[in-house]
């Protein structure tokens, strides 16, 4: 074997005549598949036709973090023409088909992540063996990039496990553990690492019968049931994903319904359709979002800050959930609150979180042991990071930091989870100000990936770096933000929420306003969002921001809060809720939504975003876009508010904004930042 020629693959034949093919992609810590990797693999596979046949072939990864993470996104981005895209896809299909047709048995030995193209490669092997470890993750997450699997995944997976389960994985992009992959039939074995070599030899030497579909799985691939099941899956999908914005899962589903899994022509259909998708604007923007995520993930990477003890003060919803998340991610956390019942409630939410994420009883137990209730605040003295999450009142927070100034370690990083108060208002103690950052988590903590890392006027850069590093350690996305009222995300969101209430007051029904936002691609309409956040919280945030930036609070919001209708949590806000579920009012078919509604909502947000850039709240439009996408769910396929401006054309949007100012008042007056936007 010409091992020397290969850049990415290592090919060794052992004494048992088993060929070990190890992917160790050059100059990277993560295996991804690009054209070079494919071509090398093809050359190696073709060499078996001439030389002596091996007993079997194993494909594995030399990388610590996993098998293969998927297709190489970098290469993906360089593709501009239809032909280049189609070539890459067909080449992948060709190589994988070649692999699938080898006459001797093949095994994919999988550890860590095995995603997208990685799983498609594994599916082309005769057997799949996974290492039993919580880090082993499998899935076809292509739809999260706006595409669908293109290297045979949409055909081989339903062939293997039946259309029902396969389509669920493909249209949701869900990632599954080794154990559930085994239960679903995606892999043939889950073994402890110590047994993996014995398992590989067993499969290659004995070549056991391959998995066959059970009766239900077989039926699910029949033409008639594909049609019935397909409609049902589509209906479920439509409840979650808007086809107009994200067509990929719908297309994958239709191909399965139309083509089935027996016919090899399905591969060509898959290739043609993904080629179309790859060049679409949506996918470009989704890839951009993927890159933005990578950028945020990389922040603080070079900082060595590895605390063991985290102390959280305040066991409300935010404090309790932050503490639980940190314990989940391996930190020892003391959770302080004078109110024992608040701690008790936090712990019960924490247990639910641990159970959902860890599943194994011994891991759940370990996480519980790391989360230590601390009524008296004893944990303050040893903590390397202290996060304050008490009520949003300057005096109360200031009192907390006065205690910390005395009791905390002198090198401890101090953080506040305030969502609106500028840091300098929290402590007069210079030593505290030097070490004080904001760590602004979003609610619900477990679901929201973003954490704003806020730098105060006096904060020393090394402590900001520690804050970024910590956010990375707890596997969230840090966004560096300057200390200013509302910071970035809430400040931009607030005019949008307030405008939605103004629209409501002007007689436009709530559901119509929300629908307009949903049609734009927001994950939830602003009225329902306000209800979900809590109207008291909205009012408080709105009032404190209007103190700094002007603007008025709609009377309707005040009235509801005065009446105690605080939104979802009290069962009544703008909408009514039953057991936390919204009761949507019936739409009036004759009502016509004024055409400028969506502009009034979105341009409120964008105008504020322009102001934030002008004030350098964040250092770049990219970071601003990242903040709004990961902090509020601003539609990823639109690439973020500033990217939206770029795509729509800045002068066109400015015209529309000026028009709104004429029609609806000075709250729509263009920020002075638009001028420099035009200049750049």
């Amino acid at each position: 074997m010409d091992a020397g020629i290969n850049q990415h693959w290592r090919c060794e034949r052992d004494g048992d005549n088993i060929v070990w093919l190890t992917l160790d992609k050059k100059k990277t810590s993560t295996n991804t598949i690009n054209m070079e990797v494919l071509e090398e693999l093809l050359t190696i596979l073709q060499s078996f036709q001439s030389g002596s046949q091996p007993l079997g072939l194993v494909i594995q990864s030399a990388k610590k973090n996993g098998f293969i993470a998927g297709a190489d996104i970098e290469q993906f981005k360089t593709i501009e023409t239809h032909d280049a895209a189609f070539n890459l896809i067909r080449q992948g299909q060709l190589v994988f088909n070649h692999l699938a047709e080898l006459s001797f048995p093949t095994v994919a030995l999988i550890h860590g992540f095995c995603l997208g193209g990685g799983l498609e490669l594994a599916l082309a092997c005769r057997y799949r063996i996974t290492i039993d470890d919580p880090k082993t993750k499998l899935g076809l997450p292509e739809v999260t990039l706006g595409i669908h699997p293109g290297w045979g995944g949409t055909i081989r997976l339903p062939r293997l496990i039946g259309g029902l389960k396969a389509m669920d994985l493909i249209v949701s992009g869900r990632i599954i553990t080794a154990k559930s992959a085994y239960k679903m039939g995606v892999v043939d074995a889950v073994v402890a690492k110590r047994q993996s070599l014995l398992a590989v030899r067993h499969y290659l030497k004995n070549s056991p019968k391959e998995r066959t579909l059970n009766f239900v799985e077989q039926i699910s691939n029949w033409s008639i049931s594909r049609r019935l099941l397909g409609r049902w899956i589509e209906k479920k999908l439509a409840a979650k994903v808007n086809r107009a914005h994200y067509p990929a899962p719908y297309i994958a589903l239709e191909h399965w319904i139309e083509q089935g899994v027996e016919n090899d022509a399905a591969f060509m259909v898959e290739a043609k359709s993904i080629t179309q998708l790859m060049l679409s604007e949506t996918v470009r923007n989704m890839v951009r979002v993927f890159d933005l995520k990578d950028t945020l993930k990389g922040l603080g990477r070079e900082v060595s800050f590895n605390p063991r003890y985290v102390h959280v003060i305040g066991a409300g919803v935010m404090g309790g959930d932050i503490a639980a998340w940190c314990a989940l991610k391996g930190f020892y956390v003391t959770l302080q609150d004078k109110n024992e019942k608040a701690i008790a409630n936090s712990l019960s939410r924490a247990l639910a979180l641990f159970t959902k994420h860890l599943k194994e009883p011994h891991l759940i137990m370990a996480a519980k042991d790391r989360l230590i209730p601390d009524v008296l605040g004893n944990g303050v003295r040893r903590a390397e990071l202290i996060i304050e999450a008490v009520v949003e009142k300057v005096e109360i927070k200031a009192a907390v930091f006065a205690v910390l100034a005395k009791e905390a370690r002198k090198d401890a990083l101090l953080a506040t989870n305030t969502s609106t108060i500028p840091l300098k208002e929290l402590s007069l103690d210079l030593d505290v100000q030097r070490r004080l950052i904001g760590l602004h988590f979003f609610n619900p903590v477990a679901k929201m990936p973003l954490v704003e890392v806020i730098t105060g006027d006096e904060t020393e850069p090394s402590f900001v770096d520690q804050g970024m590093a910590f956010v990375r350690l707890i596997e969230k996305l840090p966004l560096p933000v300057k200390s200013s009222p509302g910071f970035l995300v809430n400040r931009i969101l607030m005019p949008y929420l307030m405008e939605s209430i103004v629209l409501l007051e002007s007689g436009i029904p709530d559901y119509a306003i929300d629908q307009a936002a949903l049609d734009f691609g927001m994950p939830m309409g602003p009225i329902e969002l306000a209800d979900t956040v809590g109207l008291d919280v909205c009012l408080y945030a709105g009032e404190s921001l209007s103190r700094y930036f002007g603007g008025s609070i709609p009377q309707k919001l005040r009235t509801l809060v005065e009446q105690g209708h605080l939104g979802r949590k009290t069962g009544q806000g703008f909408y009514q809720y039953k057991a936390g579920k919204i009761i949507k009012p019936k739409a009036d078919p004759n009502f016509r939504v004024p055409e400028d509604v969506i502009d009034r909502l979105i341009l409120s947000m964008i105008n504020e975003a322009v102001a934030c850039l002008r004030e350098k709240i964040v250092s770049s439009p990219d970071l601003l876009d990242a903040g709004m996408i990961f902090g509020t769910g601003f539609p990823p396929f639109r690439g973020g508010p500033m990217h939206y401006v770029l795509e729509q054309g800045e002068s066109l949007l400015l015209q529309r904004l000026n028009l709104l100012a004429q029609r609806h008042g000075k709250r729509f007056l263009a920020d002075s930042g638009w001028a420099s936007l035009a200049a750049s």
């Binding site: 024992e340 701690i343 008790a344 230590i372 209730p373 009524v375 944990g379």
Partner: protein, 424 residues
């Protein structure tokens, strides 16, 4: 000889509230209870958990998945792989045994910093299958062929399914065939202690325990969270409004129908954990630890199992004679209230028995109540007595205290502690 031994300092301690075992098993296991006490205890120390050199835990009945529970607790506390841990079992004095073993290792110079205490989850003691059922099952499994199987089947008796209550077995002495309650009845008979005396003593225990709570003498308790939204802040067996009249209505629990020992004048079946940190002089200095007191000596004795409740008498006699101290030299006493009659019998024997030492004044004994009110999680009680005695000595500016327990099977243990304000 004593001068060669190194001093042993008690530097900090915490316990869970003691929870009366209700019909339902506690959601927390014995190890969970231990973590609930020792986790917050370690969290407030100036040293890392790995600095602990040994973990010793008293536990009478760990669950089937808690073999060598001390090691489980040590690992779960984050003490690290390198810290050895072992479990001790001396029935009702297991917690005291843990402290004594820890102290001995420090005295010897083997270690400098030890976490020791006890934990017990009596509400989780299991129901067991009878041997008769296991025998039948074995026969059934071994019988081959349909007809043999049918024959085996016919030998099954429904009574085989009656469970064995492990808790009752644990609280009985199989050597003399008496339950612990019956040994207490022996003492009531031998020392002529009336039901009224027992009940009055019990009411006092409840009153003292609730007063201690109200006056804030229970800082040793860290609230216990069940991870399902509930929290308990204090011992829940204490009945503020207990009265002799109410206790008089209870039926005898062990010698029916004429006995005098009732559930009301016995210690409660309880879950809980108590932990202390013990340190040598060098550890105190190295980590700048506060000093609450020191363990001076411990004495252990054996006696007739049918009157095991007198254990404290002989243990105290041995302890005081070894230390050349008289009864009056001891400022405060904690004698575990396994049964009211048993404590009263100890007092009588100490005062007027074969080798009398004198009278322990009631205002120096169990001044904040005892196991009758608070409960007796067997593995943890010894550690609780010492932990609480430290508080009593401190707030009264007193010097010496003795904590003593009777031990099922016919033993007694007593520990002398001394309040010191720093290392000498």
């Amino acid at each position: 000889m004593a001068s060669k031994k190194r001093a042993v300092y008690l530097v900090d301690g915490l316990r869970t509230p003691f929870l009366k075992a209700l019909a339902r098993p506690n959601p927390l296991s014995a190890a969970d209870l231990a973590i609930a006490a020792a986790g917050p205890l370690l969290a407030r120390q100036s040293f890392e958990p790995e600095a602990i050199e040994e973990v010793i835990v008293g536990c009478v009945g760990p669950a089937a998945d808690e073999a060598n529970i001390a090691r489980i607790i040590a690992l779960r506390l984050g003490c690290g792989h390198a810290v050895p841990a072992w479990t001790v079992q001396r029935n009702c004095a297991s917690g005291l045994q843990a402290l004594d073993s820890a102290a001995a290792h420090i005295m010897n110079g083997d270690v400098d910093l030890v976490l020791a205490g006890g934990t017990e989850c009596m509400s989780r003691t299991p129901l067991l299958y009878q041997n008769a059922l296991l025998e039948w099952l074995a026969d059934f499994r071994m019988s081959k062929g349909f007809s043999n199987r049918c024959k085996s089947m016919l030998k099954f008796r429904l009574r085989y399914l009656a469970p064995v209550v492990a808790l009752l077995k644990g609280l009985s002495d199989s050597v003399v065939n008496l339950s612990m309650g019956q040994t207490a009845e022996n003492l009531a008979y031998q020392y002529n202690i009336s039901r009224e005396e027992m009940d009055a003593f019990s009411v006092q225990s409840h009153q003292r325990a609730s007063a201690a709570l109200q006056e804030g003498h229970l800082a040793e308790i860290t609230p216990l969270f069940d991870w399902h939204g509930q929290v308990v802040g204090s011992d829940n067996g204490v009945r503020e409004n207990s009265s002799v009249d109410k206790l008089a209505t209870l039926k005898p629990a062990f010698d029916k129908p004429f006995g005098r020992v009732t559930a009301g004048n016995s210690s409660q079946i309880t879950d809980g954990a108590a932990f202390l940190i013990l340190a040598s002089e060098s550890a105190v200095k190295q980590y700048d630890l506060p000093v609450l007191g020191r363990i001076v000596d411990t004495a252990w004795v054996g006696l007739d199992p049918t009157v095991m409740g007198l254990g404290p008498v002989y243990a105290i006699q041995k302890l005081l004679s070894e230390q050349k101290l008289s009864l009056e030299d001891i400022d405060y006493w904690e004698i575990n209230e396994a049964f009211a009659t048993q404590v009263l019998a100890c007092l009588k024997e100490l005062e007027t028995g074969e080798s009398p030492l004198g009278k322990i004044p009631l205002d120096r004994l169990n001044v904040d109540g005892g196991a009758i009110a608070i409960g007796h999680p067997v593995g943890a009680s010894g550690a609780r007595l010492v932990l609480h005695l430290l508080d009593i000595l401190k707030r009264n500016g007193a010097k010496r205290g003795v904590a003593s327990l009777c031990i099922g099977g016919g033993q007694g243990g007593a520990m002398l502690i001394e309040r010191v304000s720093g290392v000498t």
